[in-house]
Symmetry: D2
Amino acid sequence: MRVGVVGAGYWGPNLARNFAISPDWELAVICDLDAERAQSVADRVGGVPISTSLDEVLADPTIDAIAVATPARTHHPVVMAALAAGKHVTVEKPLADEGGRGAEMVDTARANGLVLMADHTYCYTPAVLKIRELIAAGELGDILFVDSVRINLGLIQPDVDVFWDLAPHDLSIIDFILPGGLDAATVAAHGADPLHTGKSCVGYLTLPLAGGAIAHIHVNWLSPTKIRQMVIGGTKRTLVWDDLNPQQRLSVYDRGVDLAEQSKATTSDARAANISYRLGDTWSPALPEKEALSNMTAEFASAIREKRQARTDGASGLRVLSILEAARGSLQNAGAPYPVDITHEMVLS
Amino acid sequence: MRVGVVGAGYWGPNLARNFAISPDWELAVICDLDAERAQSVADRVGGVPISTSLDEVLADPTIDAIAVATPARTHHPVVMAALAAGKHVTVEKPLADEGGRGAEMVDTARANGLVLMADHTYCYTPAVLKIRELIAAGELGDILFVDSVRINLGLIQPDVDVFWDLAPHDLSIIDFILPGGLDAATVAAHGADPLHTGKSCVGYLTLPLAGGAIAHIHVNWLSPTKIRQMVIGGTKRTLVWDDLNPQQRLSVYDRGVDLAEQSKATTSDARAANISYRLGDTWSPALPEKEALSNMTAEFASAIREKRQARTDGASGLRVLSILEAARGSLQNAGAPYPVDITHEMVLS
Amino acid sequence: MRVGVVGAGYWGPNLARNFAISPDWELAVICDLDAERAQSVADRVGGVPISTSLDEVLADPTIDAIAVATPARTHHPVVMAALAAGKHVTVEKPLADEGGRGAEMVDTARANGLVLMADHTYCYTPAVLKIRELIAAGELGDILFVDSVRINLGLIQPDVDVFWDLAPHDLSIIDFILPGGLDAATVAAHGADPLHTGKSCVGYLTLPLAGGAIAHIHVNWLSPTKIRQMVIGGTKRTLVWDDLNPQQRLSVYDRGVDLAEQSKATTSDARAANISYRLGDTWSPALPEKEALSNMTAEFASAIREKRQARTDGASGLRVLSILEAARGSLQNAGAPYPVDITHEMVLS
Amino acid sequence: MRVGVVGAGYWGPNLARNFAISPDWELAVICDLDAERAQSVADRVGGVPISTSLDEVLADPTIDAIAVATPARTHHPVVMAALAAGKHVTVEKPLADEGGRGAEMVDTARANGLVLMADHTYCYTPAVLKIRELIAAGELGDILFVDSVRINLGLIQPDVDVFWDLAPHDLSIIDFILPGGLDAATVAAHGADPLHTGKSCVGYLTLPLAGGAIAHIHVNWLSPTKIRQMVIGGTKRTLVWDDLNPQQRLSVYDRGVDLAEQSKATTSDARAANISYRLGDTWSPALPEKEALSNMTAEFASAIREKRQARTDGASGLRVLSILEAARGSLQNAGAPYPVDITHEMVLS
């Protein structure tokens, strides 16, 4: 299958490099309005053709799919045009800059029988794939809480706040690893802009989950110390993912809380009295050393061939987008919980 | 000066040991309703008298002060009786189980010219004393954010939730180190009780501070990995306190965000464009090895002698209490921001 | 059984405290030439009798055993007197200040049917007990190398160098965990005294083991950063013990080198070509929280009751002593390998 | 200036990439006996000419210098030919496979007025450059000890042991940072080959330095845990370099040992009594993010232009080589200290 990369800015070169070396794909073209930028990317992967016209790319019948790495506000027109031209699409996060547009994209892909994939790259890292596998196999039991921290000294972006810049990573990962996806009905967002830049530079998201569980995300552009850590607590075991510790990224703690059987029918005080702690071993699974984007390009190809949804499909991109929109609503209401608009998703069913 | 320790449970023995070896104090008596428990504590400090009657202790004219380590719900009656008997008091956190009662205690101490001290022990650790000193000296510049994490596998308490159990530490520390104290007008609290114990086991507190800054606290009883870390971001430098790294508890990062001078009068977009990052050295101050409680007993004695408020006075205990009460209000309103009742404090002025 | 503690200096109080709370022992007396020092220790364990006369203690027929925590040069006369009086003995490291004296002590205990135990306290920590258990169960396979680092800013001792101060810990641990004990035939010792204090402050010990394996110990009084780490490489797995990481003291790496079966009969070049690496999981066993000295007092009691050698018996103390003496010989020969005098041990067989 | 890269194996591509982007150099040719391998490297840097003939490259009068990345045993003939052709040379470590050959290379370069540089890449990392600068400025005082650990699961090499594979890094770094270079008169080497591969897989080098100081190196192919740490103790401060901690590679501890002034004339016992410890702050200097090889290519160009020795010149390569040879001698003598052959160096003076 032949693929064109649209957008030769920050992320495009990574896509180009991985499609170029993929056994599933032939890299057909690099497309960017800026010919020089496109050429520079093409040179680095050994001389692929370039184009400055999206229409031209989409008109090429030998091209099966496109990978979109343009700014978020252009995702909707680019993807809609590609879907209209019968191309499968993988698109950078966030899916779109607005929920309604995202829903339209998902709907159209479905109607046209095309794969629309959200390029949630983190989901294809060996660590996240292993987490998903462990949870699916019941190794952690029921999920009690997810706490994610992604803080670093980061460039203050001209057009997005810290939530739209960083939280899509955490949200897409949580959506990917939870068996039922990220189905929070409300979001509370607390942001701070202490440098008066006009947008949040420090942010916290709280998402109540089904059954009393909770997910929480801390994103921060102002921290001189870099932390990328997720703690996932379950009834059986708890997993800690420390992405900055290459010698031990994942630790599974066989420690936790045991509820005595009889306590289940009694009052909460009695339940509390029957809780005890287990202190067991810790285990750190070996992870294959494989680049996430190469897993992503393989999944994109498989989904097309097998005529199925990709593991990070448009709907997952839409869930992430809906939560970001609800977070914006919560921010405008001083952090009060704000409903996630699930009408987008209802469209889909 | 002579002091009696009231309450021989979990914390009392630590108080007894530190008063016993303090050059400022003579430990006069261990008081507990349970004579055996009192005797056991007395034995461990070399044979101090015991008493099972608070009235008896308070009637002793040779006793200048008492240290209260009884359950929270008894703080109000015990402290009010002590103040009525003309004794100075240091009391375990939280100050009281309810804001109005706490305010009455503070008021009475003030009216009677007695020292009422909140035993916020963490504030007397070498690390926190150094943080306070650095901030007061302007080393961090203006404070932009405070992010505190205190998570661990903890015993689920029969009578308090994770907020009332752990957050008083973080709140009292933040109150102690910020130049103006912790003056948040509202609090948002998000809790989760995924084990259905009847109380929150995972909790998040968000406190907007003056000037667009923010404080945030994560407390958690269900985490198998223990973290006690506070990041304090300032306009000049950022400090990270990792209490579990004895070899480098404090790190001061000379990194951060610089705003170009001219940007101060312009629009926020222009401001964002003028922000740049500084990457400077990291510095870890040496800390004296001194037990916090010995600093606390010394401060208690000094405040009495110098007829001044203690550094962690009743008013600071009341601020912590008011925030805990507001957090309870927020929890009951699904996490919506809840006003901190400052009428308690108005009483004081 | 009743035990007397002889020596109320640095280590005596720890012994006293642990014997006092042991279910196996009744603490009979604290003995020290300095009555005040003895009394101070006695007070801290609730009023045990004291004595300033060793003879008096040894003459007491109700005392079954003594625990010796006096300076090393007094171990021989104290222990010999105790053994002559029919008392079982546990003695601080090193066993004696000279190999011949140590051998005499071991011989006499054996002849008199008494337990002579070396108080190698580290061997009774949960971490070391677990390491011994894992190696004995074959979990690591054959041992290929042991690398031990014990460095810290340490007080320069008036009478011993860094080898005699710190290396007994490493040597006694290695002796304890290796299935056949520490049977090195030679030792090479390299020391440095860059401050011209008259004794080594930085030291390295190299001990060739059977089958081509090696043990190496780095001890250092001049390091501002504290490291206590032992790496034990085996044919099947490798274990890392980081004693300063309470959250994960032991890590067992299922990584290592595999030799293809056919390579065993071929040349070494062919062998090298057939070596491959396995990258498996890491596993960190949970350890009980138990004080080492309480395990030691229990073992002392068991050995006496069961009329058997203690797990750290006099012979192990003698092996450690022989290696320290050989190290002294190597030092005096500019680091050339020096034979370990095993005539001491031959006495025993 | 124009440079040719000779050898397109493991290291050649890194050299090619850095010369290609250097403002000081024009990359003229990639030379390898294997044309395909040469072409592959040439492609990755944008189409440089290739050659399979060293003679052809050396005959080209427009080429000023060559960078040699061929196997160690070929260094001597390649470099001698290049020097004969009037080319400046930078050569991979080790300088040669034998000391006499290395000395001849250094001699010839000197006689012909050409730069012969040892490509000790680690010396050009920001961390090592900073260490050298701090020591030169007297920040650490006199050096007391250097302890270097470089352990990892490594491929067992067909032709070299762990000393020749890894220790050149440590030796060249120590030579670079010590004010007088690495002038050890003897070396003791202890190796182990517990897998019977025919060469040492675990190794320790001990090098006594002037004034009672000591350097020690631990290299190991069998460790599943990766450590790259160097501790450099000085009379004023101690520096720890942890190359695997990108957030804090260098830590300078203002802790150490103070000798009272009067003690200097007295006996060593009195000296020991006058030693005290200072516990001061820790400081971690910010390091520029610059690739080491780009610093190396710049130094190579500067040395040629300024007609001076490079900072890592042939003589430094020769010192490293002499120590490796002495280590081989020590290994063959069961670890007895072995003299470093300084006749090679005498040739130079």
